[in-house]
Symmetry: C2
Subunit: 226 residues, 2 copies
DNA sequence: TTCGTCATGTAATGGGTTACATGATTAC
DNA sequence: GTAATCATGTAACCCATTACATGACGAA
């Protein structure tokens, strides 16, 4: 009992906002949508779904169908979960919180995965919050390292160094993202004060610059399990 | 009850192998020795110490002193923990395990922090294991991305991309480390079969190439807490 | 005298996993 | 027919955190 969570709950609401799904499929989506291999087991997912239903944020729909392109009637009776109006409202409230909680590792990744569903304002606050959180971290690490450098052996030191560089790298990433958001905002601003110009939906939506993305072997099964 | 752990237990044994300590100090060392800010609270540390004592791996020494340079007798009665012979043996056994467990994130970081206390053979096996573990991960991520690319929005995709690059970066790091180890091994080998030459202790110890390390503000307090 | 930090602990709670139980459907 | 995968769940456990309780010591 009391199987609530925070991030799992949040992610489930977010995924169901896009479209109704049943548990089994949700679990797979959780593993791909959220950052690097954040997997959840059924042992936490199903109970979580129950409590979300109990809170009135989801409703169960016993009917089959569900999948796009599901042609045949047959299949098995699944429980399809759909977001209620309350659920949607709740999710949007969670998504718009820009407090310190949103800067922590797991939390931040989850927020980021649903950035497309919130405003640029919120995005920028969260990105900047995350960045300063990491910079605090770096300060502490540097200070701690300066104090203990002599006492630590080579491998510990190397671990420390690699860890710091990872954090520094994330800060650079955040800088790029913040730049992107700022650029999008300025563009939007100049478009609206220079009277209505061309352009379609460059307003609140994502404006990430496309990148090279490796796409080698188009194959393999969908699992994330052992 | 039953507060055993795995990584905490392991790290405590490892730190106490270097020198006896009391709980409070141990907690601080845990936060700096292990990777990027892996903190443990007293709520897990103290119970862990108790079970380690119960297993005969540690003994409590009630005496004060302890700290190097602790001049005055005064102070308060601390419980200093010292590794027993059994404890040392147990730790070394744990340290020499090269099974798949040692390739997981947290586990690997902990192992790495104590690499200086094990053989080059073990180090190489663990590094290579970790690397292939990450490469499997990359395979799955690439495959999953290839399948779902269209369905995912920009931010989710960006999160995925950044995650993958982080993993790729760690693989490069491992490659460097493995190279270092290999170089050290070869050097040792050629030294021993070309009859005994100069050289002192280049045998089993760490052979990491020294790097540039930032050391800006030499200051700040020791905590890791909020 | 009051505040920070040293120092040790416990109880309640949180948030997850593993292993188990069950069964239908599909692919070979 | 038998293996894999789809599909839903529960009970037992694991490993940690938070908040609480207690108290000594040094410095302002």
């Amino acid at each position: 009992m009391s199987r609530r969570s925070g991030i799992l709950e949040f992610a489930v609401l977010g995924l169901l906002r896009e479209s109704p799904m049943h548990g089994y499929e949700l679990r797979k989506r959780l593993n791909t949508s959220l950052g690097v291999f954040r997997a959840f087991s059924y042992g936490s997912l199903y109970p979580c779904l129950k409590t979300l239903v109990a809170n009135g944020w989801l409703i169960e729909e016993s009917g089959a169908a569900g999948e796009a392109l599901a042609p045949l009637a047959g299949r098995r009776a699944k429980i399809v979960y759909r977001l209620t109006a309350d659920g949607k409202e709740h999710f949007e409230e969670l998504l718009s919180q820009t407090g310190p909680d949103a800067y922590e590792d797991e939390h931040f990744a989850a927020r980021f995965a649903f950035f497309g569903q919130t405003s640029r304002d919120v995005r920028m606050r969260v990105l900047e919050g995350r960045r300063s959180r990491l910079e605090e971290r770096l300060e502490k690490m540097r200070a701690s390292l300066a104090r203990t450098r002599e006492r630590l052996d080579d491998y510990t030191l190397e671990l420390q160094r690699h860890g710091m560089e990872s954090v520094e790298r994330e800060v650079r990433w955040l800088n790029e993202l913040i730049e992107s958001e700022r650029a999008g905002r300025d563009q939007q601003r100049s478009a609206s004060d220079g009277s209505a110009q061309q352009n379609s939906t460059s307003g609140e939506s994502g404006v990430l610059p496309r990148r090279r993305g490796s796409t080698p072997p188009p194959d393999a099964s969908d699992d994330t399990s052992k």
